[in-house]
Each structure stands twice: as C-alpha cells, then as structure tokens.
C-alpha cells in the first residue's frame, strides 16, 4: 500500500513540518516550502517515483483490504489479494511499504501518520485520511520537540516525590508528537428556570432582632451557543487527560492539509461524531445550566430555590480536527502512565507518580522536626 512522504525537490530527502517556521522544511538541505505548496508538489513528485520502480502494489478503487501477514513471504507482488476473504477483522494489521528503504511499516487500522521503524522516514497513510475520513481542520504544532523535552524536564524536577527513573535521558527520548483526532461540536442550548428567591435583611431594634424577608418569583429563559467543544475520538488516548489539555486556541486552526502531519504520528478517529455526542451533551448541559443560574445569582439573593428547570440542546455541527499533543509513556511500579503536553499552548496534563518512599521520608522528617520545636516551645514559654 502506498505510503506518502513529502520529498524535497532539491535533494530528494524527506520534508517535515517545522514548528518554528510553520512550514515544510527539508531534513537534509533545509529547503523551505509552504504546506499547501508541498501538497500540490507531492502529486507530481510521487508519480515520478512510482514509475521508477516503487515496489508497492497499487490499487485504484481505494477499498481497504484485509492485509494478511503470511502473504509477504509469497513475494512482493502478492501483498494483497483482491478478494475480501473471511470476516473483516478490525484488529488486523495493515502492511505498508516505506517509500525510502522498502521496509514494511506495521500499523493498525487507524494510524494515519508514523515513521518507518528502520530508516525513520516520515510515512503518511493517506487513505486513512482521505475522502469521507479527511479531517476538516488541524492546529499545527507550535511547540517543537526540544521545548517539549525541556518542559518535561522541568515538570519532573518540580515534585519532591518524583521517582528518579523519570529523569533519565532514555525516558525523555521517548517523547513523541502526535496529532490526536478530535470531534469539535457546535451546540445550541436553551434553558428555562423558574425559581423562588428571597432577599433577607436584618437589623436590631432594642432587644429584638428584626428579620425582613422579601420574596421573589424569578424566571429565566435564555438560549446560548457553545462552539467547538472538543471530544477526543481516539480510543487509545484517555478521555479525561485529553479534556484537561483544553483549551486549544482556535485562532491557529487551519484547513487540514496532509503535509502538516509529516514528522509526527497521527491516526484517524475510532469513534464517529454520533458516538462521541453523549459525552459532549453532558458538558453542554452543565454549561447552559451554569450560564442560566449565573443570571440569577448575579442578583445576590439570599436563597434560591429552583422550582422548575428545563434544558434542551441541539447539535448544530460536528467538525473533525487533528490537534497537536506531545506524549511520553513511562512505566513506574509496573503501571504505564502518560505524560501529555498540549502541542500548541504548552499546558501539561499528567499525573505525577509519587514515590511512596520519598513521601514517607518527608512526612516522618517533618513530624520529628515539628515535634521537637513544639516541645521546646512548650518547655520554655509554657505557663
């Protein structure tokens, strides 16, 4: 299966998306090119390469095939059978060939951008993001790898209880940039609130306290729109962590073009927009509820008693976008954890592991020191 790589027109090496330049930059000779230019140029360059003896088998109708491992041994031509034998197994691994070294690139059904494990060449599986599967938007990476590593290092240093294994260079080297597939939802929401509220005033007259309670009948009906609420559509990425990476700055969001992914990992969505909707609806419910209630609390009532509340919402639009995240997986105490970094804003979302030993050490240390100080204080100042 054809693997896309963007070739430098000057030297033939691969071009990757450079964070600093926000352009495609050749890894070897430094030639720069705008993203959409690279996309246009790709078509012409690729055709040249194909006819020069690219060993991949080309199929025009764009169907996805069952890739069966055993076929490789049959020789290079027999990579794919035209027939879809057996059941369509979603966990089957697809076999692609690297455009540079000819090695097999092993990926699952969802990976859309990766690197050749042998020569490291950025390889893009275009069919995963083509046609109906094509993302509408992408926010390009704004934080380059060195900066991400530096942020990680600082984060590790901050905690007193961080186990030292996290500091090793071997761990740091594993940091990878990934475009995570997200659905961005636009919702229109309506809320109706009927509440009885009071305002209480107290004053003292002689030996008595006089309490005046004003009663109000309060009604609100408002409509509001919430735009581009993100929900990550990747099964692999933990939802709560992806949520916490928010907010992403949508000013930097651009129309999707394949070249942006060169040099990073990416995958297509596991879940479609309908499957993700309930998760977002929960958020919209909270948001409209808070927005509505805020108009009541702004009046500074003493008590607010909601008699009736009615919320309705409607999904206007769902867009498919790829958003940048730096990821580092590490294992501590047999548990694999993830350190993530918003590739645009730099926000860290990670649970820091706590070395129980270090925590216990600090706890005992503080106890002993405090105890000594307090006892001495009591001894000398206690009366």
């Amino acid at each position: 299966m054809e693997v896309k790589s963007y070739i430098c027109p000057s030297c033939g090496s691969t071009m990757q998306f450079d964070v600093v330049e926000q352009k495609m930059v050749c890894m070897h000779c430094g030639t720069k090119m705008e993203v959409h230019e690279a996309e246009q140029k790709y078509e012409s360059v690729n055709q040249v390469n194909s006819s020069a003896g690219d060993s991949t088998n080309h199929n025009d109708d764009g169907n996805t095939y069952n890739g069966i491992h055993n076929n490789i041994s049959n020789g290079m031509n027999g990579l794919y059978d035209g027939n879809n034998e057996g059941s369509y197994d979603r966990t089957t691994f697809k076999v692609y060939r690297c455009g540079g070294c000819g090695a097999e690139i092993l990926t699952d059904d969802y990976t859309a951008a990766t690197f050749c494990s042998f020569c490291g060449r950025p390889s893009l599986m275009e069919d995963r993001l083509a046609g109906a599967l094509m993302p509408q938007y992408v926010i390009p990476f704004k934080i380059k790898k060195e900066d991400a590593e530096e942020i990680y290092r600082k984060w590790v240093k901050k905690g007193k209880f961080t186990p030292s294994i996290l500091k090793t260079q071997a761990t740091i080297d594993k940091i990878t940039g990934m475009y995570v597939p997200f659905w961005l939802y636009d919702f229109d929401a309506q809320i109706y609130i009927n509440a009885s509220c009071t305002r209480v005033k107290r004053h003292i007259s002689g030996n008595y306290e006089i309490v005046d309670t004003d009663h109000f009948a309060v009604m609100r009906q408002m409509e509001a729109e919430f735009d581009r609420i993100p929900a990550d559509a990747s099964e692999k990425m933990p939802d709560d962590m992806m949520d916490k990476l928010e907010p992403f700055m949508y000013q930097d969001m651009v129309k999707f073009e394949m070249p942006y992914l060169s040099g990073y990992y990416s995958e297509r969505y596991n879940y479609n927009s309908q499957e993700m909707q309930p998760r977002v609806e929960k958020r919209v419910w909270q948001y409209i509820d808070q927005t509505g209630m805020e108009t009541i609390t702004a009046k500074h009532y003493t008590t607010v008693n909601v008699v009736q509340k009615n919320i309705q919402m409607r999904n206007i639009r769902a867009s498919y976008a790829l958003l940048p995240v730096w990821i580092l997986n590490y294992t501590y105490n047999g548990v694999t954890r993830m350190f993530t970094l918003n590739g645009q804003t730099g926000k860290i979302v990670a649970d820091k592991p706590i070395s129980k030993g270090k925590a216990a050490g600090w706890f005992s240390g503080i106890t002993v020191v405090m105890f000594t100080i307090l006892m001495l204080l009591g001894r000398f100042f206690g009366k």
Binding site: G159, V218, T291, L374, M375
Partner: protein, 301 residues
C-alpha cells in the same frame, strides 16, 4: 576572725531558738481561738427569733459547718445604716472574721443568710471556699426554697431550710468538682479571687498546651500531613476549560428575564444577653471594701 565566727554562730542559735518558742506560743494562741464551740452562728440583731430558735439554728449551723468545713451563719438586721444590703453583708462578715478556717488566712470560708428588714432583702453572702461550692444557679435555688416561708413571715423555717438546702448544695458540688481544689485551698492564703485565678480557672497561655506531648505530636503529625499533601498535590492536572471558553458571546439570547417581587415577611425575636462566663466553676464574685472576695445573691422580700 575565728572568734567572731564563733560568736555569730552562738548568737544565731540563741535567736533561732527564741523565735521557735515564740512562734509555738503564738500558734497555740491562734488555735485557742479556733475552738468552734466558741463561735456565734446566729446574729439576730433584728430580734426576730426566740432563744430556743436561736439555739436550734446555731446547732444546725454548727453541724453543717463542721461537716463541710464552711461556716454557716444566720444574720438578721432591722437597720443597715447608710449601707446597702450587699455592702452591709460583706462588711459584717469581714469585720467579724466569719469563716471556718482560723489560721489567720486572708479569706475564710463562710456562707451567710442575711435577713435585712431595713431594705426588705433576703441576701446570701459567700466567702472563701463557699464561693466555689455555691454557684449562681445554686443561690437561686436556695432562695427559692427560702422564699417559700418568707411571705408567711416564718423566718425560723426560712433560716432552717436555708441551712439544709445550702448544705445539700455544697455537698453535691464538693463531690462533683469542688473537692479537687480542697487540698490547694487549705494551703492557700489570699483572696478567693486570687485562688480562683491560680487554681480553678487557670488561664494558661497558649504555649502551655504544647507541654503536653500528645498535643505537640498531634500538631506535628497534622502539619506533616498537610505539608506532604500540598507537596504531592501538584501532581494532579486540572480542567481549565469551562463554559466561558466555548460560549459564543455574540449569540446569547435572553428570551425571558423577570424578577417579580411578591411580598415581605417579617419576624422578630428577642436577643439573649450573654450569660456570665461560661465553662468554669464557682459563683460570680466581687471584692468587698475590706479587700476580700464575696459571692452571693439576693431577692426582695
């Protein structure tokens, strides 16, 4: 030089011995006056009691006094002169040196019932350990019992029930809390107020509590726990996007917004004036002109 030392030594020894003898005599003399059978328990200056009544009351007083080590005294008067009844009672007790202890201490322990016909007041005055044993509520209770006889002018029974009720109160409070301080009181010389400040309602400064090991340990553990928690809490990531991040501000439509005033309801309730010093034992007290602490309370006849 040596001769001088020898001279000094012998002089001191002689003076010392003389002093000892002198003291022994003095103390003996003091004790001579302490014979309780010489005490007057009833001062009937208003002349309302018969001799028999005085005798019975005195006996009751003496019994009660000896049992609880607090003197019981009944006093009646028809003329307090220019003094108010409290001042009269205080001065009367001070001037007559009323009280159980006869060791020359500053404040002695006594509880006195004063029937003041001049001011039409029944007043109970307490000194010394009696202030600790008879709290303000108790005074009221005793007066309640006494006043059952006042309207009928049965002053004998009024006094009688005073002795019995007060005795019961003292016995109960001694068992409940007062006896803990008895040993200290016996060795104490000073006003009751001083005694109270030093032994009963001791106001320690805050560092005193640190002396107790479990207090210090508790605080240390708590601090360590909190500090460790804070140090570890930096580990959790938080959600920073909220409704404001995604709200389209230009498209908020308010269809209905009414705050309709309905009515006002009013309530009033009486404020409690704070009760006197909570949480400690002993009745409230003041200082008399003689510089002694007096407690007590009264009621109009």
């Amino acid at each position: 030089m040596i001769r001088l030392n020898k001279f000094l030594k012998t002089s001191f020894m002689m003076i010392g011995t003389c002093l000892l003898i002198f003291l022994a005599v003095i103390l003996q003399k003091e004790n001579a006056f302490a014979d309780s059978s010489d005490k007057t328990y009833v001062y009937d200056m208003a002349g309302i009691y018969s001799d028999d009544e005085i005798e019975y009351l005195s006996e009751e007083c003496q019994n009660a006094s000896e049992r609880v080590e607090i003197d019981f005294v009944i006093t009646t008067t028809a003329d307090t002169g220019y003094k108010g009844y409290v001042e009269y009672a205080d001065d009367f007790m001070d001037d007559n040196g009323l009280g159980y202890e006869d060791d020359g201490r500053c404040d002695q322990s006594c509880v006195m019932l004063l029937l003041d016909f001049d001011n039409q007041q029944v007043y109970i005055d307490t000194t010394g350990f009696a202030i600790l044993c008879i709290e303000d509520d108790d005074i009221e209770d005793i007066l309640d019992d006494v006043f059952e006889y006042i309207p009928e002018r049965d002053y004998y029974n009024a006094a009688f029930v005073f002795i019995n009720k007060t005795y019961d109160v003292i016995v109960e409070n001694k068992a409940s809390y007062a006896d803990e301080y008895l040993a200290q009181w016996k060795n104490f010389d000073g006003t009751y107020e001083e005694f109270e400040d030093e032994y009963v309602n001791i106001t320690h400064n805050i560092f005193y509590n640190l002396k107790k090991p479990y207090v210090s340990l508790g605080i240390s553990l708590l601090t360590a726990f909190v500090v460790t928690l804070i140090m570890g809490s930096g580990s959790k990531a938080k959600m920073t996007a909220d409704r404001r991040t995604y709200l389209n501000r230009s498209n908020v439509r308010m269809h209905l917004m009414t705050d309709q005033y309905l009515r006002t309801t009013t309530t009033r309730h009486k404020i409690n004036t704070g009760s006197s010093g909570g949480g400690h034992h002993g009745g409230s007290h003041h200082s008399s002109h003689g510089g002694h602490s007096h407690g007590g309370g009264g009621r109009h006849m």
